[in-house]
Symmetry: C5
Subunit: 94 residues, 5 copies
């Protein structure tokens, strides 16, 4: 999972069946030390995240099993609102 | 999901079974601030998108469950035509 | 899907069960304007592509459902031989 | 799989159903010779890894089949605590 | 699939259930002309590959269906030991 910040909303009236009623948010990935910025992307939210929240996001098809029945065509899901991160050291391999 | 713009069409007469009748469009990803351009790619469209539309695209195998029955071999699907994006700030981690 | 050109063949006698009889081709991705070259890779072909053909390739596990029964361990499949690409403009976000 | 070092913990009280009780750790990928640093990410741990451990991590939807029943929405799982790595040469293609 | 060279072994005694008995090898991807080096990674081997072998590797969840029954949490599998590669030209799009 990656950690990022919710920075906006996105709306699409015309969309694939099965996606009606889902909330789509724009997420900006946190930047790791010594690595370039990663591009923002859109994730589905079902846990009440909003702009300014720090969130954990699952990417790829693992995000698409939201309910019983068939998978839906999404590739990013906000899975948690981060309370705290405790990084004790930045690793010995840097 | 990523957001991009439909910039063209692509045709392939000889193709894998199961893909007959699908419409393939060329999508150019929007560029995030401070990140390099990402390459264009081909996505399947079933919602009537066309050149110039801003679209949301699901990538990976989550895009391949288009109907009942077996998955089909595609890895990108246009899932929505974007009405509006509202980015309230660009994040505090940049 | 990405678009690329078939540039070679690759042979492996000793391989995973379930892959016997498949044809493996080397594909070089087309380069998008303003983006770096992407590395060549190996894709399975079942539609008769050959060196010099421009092809569409599905990557990831969506490529692995080639038949009834269990998935096979491949991550790239040539899904079409491209007849023509019509890119009407290169997008307004570049 | 990639090899990295556990560098921290992350907590999220509000999260997707099905993730309650899982332990989330921050992992910093080891850096390969001649390649840039890759960003840190969050992985689920079920084998008792902790800060300072060198671990193998599976990414993508293969990490999401943790038990009988439906997949859960995670995209990274610590699958082993590394005892030793023996790299005999760095390859002839570098 | 990508082509690379086996450059080492890796051992992990404590690991996820379902992975006991698998052999893990370190693979260094071949470098394509005009592209940067890609990082080494760990792949499962079931066909008897060893250090110095040139191999084809499947990445992602397609590598995780190794047997009847549930998928196991791995994301890279050596699927073939390469006998020969014949690249007839490096493509016209470079």
């Amino acid at each position: 999972m990656i950690v990022g910040e919710v920075i906006g909303n996105i709306w699409a009236t015309r969309k694939e069946d099965g996606l009606v009623g889902l909330k789509f948010l724009v997420v900006k990935p946190d930047r790791s030390e010594n690595t370039p910025e990663a591009p923002s992307f859109v994730a589905v939210d079902r846990i009440g995240a909003g702009v300014g929240d720090k969130v954990m996001v699952t990417k790829g098809s693992a995000s698409s099993h939201l309910q019983e029945g068939p998978a839906i065509p999404i590739d990013a899901l906000i899975i948690g609102i981060v309370d705290s991160v405790e990084v004790e050291r930045s690793g010995s391999n840097g």
